[in-house]
Symmetry: C2
Subunit: 196 residues, 2 copies
């Protein structure tokens, strides 16, 4: 196997395993077997299991901080928020493992939390806070809104919907076919909740 292929194959097969079982729930033997690669290759390329985990997280969180919607100057605040929600949904659909790394690091942080995860989350929240306070100066929203509470409410509505999926499949239809409805629903509640 060519070097790049080998490295990529290891990372690709490691993603679902780490995502489902956590860093401590998978062994290097299991990772090597799943990638159909010799066990020593993991140390050779990544310096060990933790190095591989860090490489996986680096790759996963690179997408999170790419916020295409921030600089759309012609869009107003609520349109930007909707773009954030849409981007979040499509990111989770494209990559069903990202949210697991996200919340797993929040609840059982590894060394990567401080270096990769926390900065990424902070950046997203900071950008949303800036977007909201921009909107406040144009007096579109009702008085008394706390920026942090408002932004975290929106973030929570969309993220927790996906997080709860494994526990609520029997109660709630989580199929991608409903995503458009879901987005409109959340934006409806949020918009009515903060407008004058």
């Amino acid at each position: 196997m060519a070097e790049k292929d080998c490295q990529n194959s290891i990372i690709t097969t490691a993603i679902p395993l780490f995502a489902m079982k956590g860093l401590n729930g998978v062994s290097v033997r299991e990772l090597a077997r799943a990638a159909d690669v010799n066990i020593s290759m993991i140390s050779y390329y990544f310096g060990g299991k933790e190095g591989l985990y860090a490489a996986v997280l680096e790759e996963q969180f690179a997408t999170l901080t790419r916020l295409e919607w921030v600089d759309q100057m012609e869009k107003d605040t609520l349109e930007k928020f909707e773009m954030y929600v849409r981007a979040t949904v499509s990111r989770y659909r494209k990559n069903p493992y990202l949210l697991r790394f996200y919340t797993s690091e929040l609840t059982n942080p590894t060394a990567c939390f401080e270096t990769i995860v926390k900065p990424a989350i902070k950046k997203v929240v900071q950008v949303l806070l800036n977007t909201f306070t921009d909107g406040l100066t144009h007096e579109k929203f009702r008085d008394g809104l706390n920026p942090a509470d408002t932004v975290l409410a929106l973030v929570g509505m969309i993220n927790f919907y996906f997080l709860l999926e494994p526990a609520t499949t029997e109660l709630v239809d989580h199929s991608p076919g409903r995503d458009e409805l879901l987005i409109c629903h959340i934006m409806d509640i949020f918009t009515r909740g903060i407008l004058k």
Copy 2:
């Protein structure tokens, strides 16, 4: 040490360790040392590490399904939702580890997920769904609201606020002194979001 004391001491010291590091992140040796108890006591009382973990989860999730607010017949739907939010906040303040077990099991499920965690979450969501559809028949809410999306939005707003704390301490004031404001803020957005 008396038997009950010993068992309780093991469980009590195991809670923060399991919560922070996950089932696979702690060893029985570490648990025994922290509880100042002989290592063999964990097998003796709980049949092993997984048994102890199950006992911890059982204890943690017992509080989650105690929903005092459901049967308050004189309260209307929105008041019940507010009681749910208040109960959630006070639960997380009293027990800072519950949410970690909650989300850790959602992202990296163990054997306890199907037996303890999923039933507990389903029950809460089911009760909230019933409460909401009750409210719908009295036509208090605007048309076109999807019950599941609406309920999960409320659940997400309050839960994700606490989940994000480790990543946003520098951006957002998460002190308990702000809880009352937070609750009102979330209920404000939610209420305006769903009323006619």
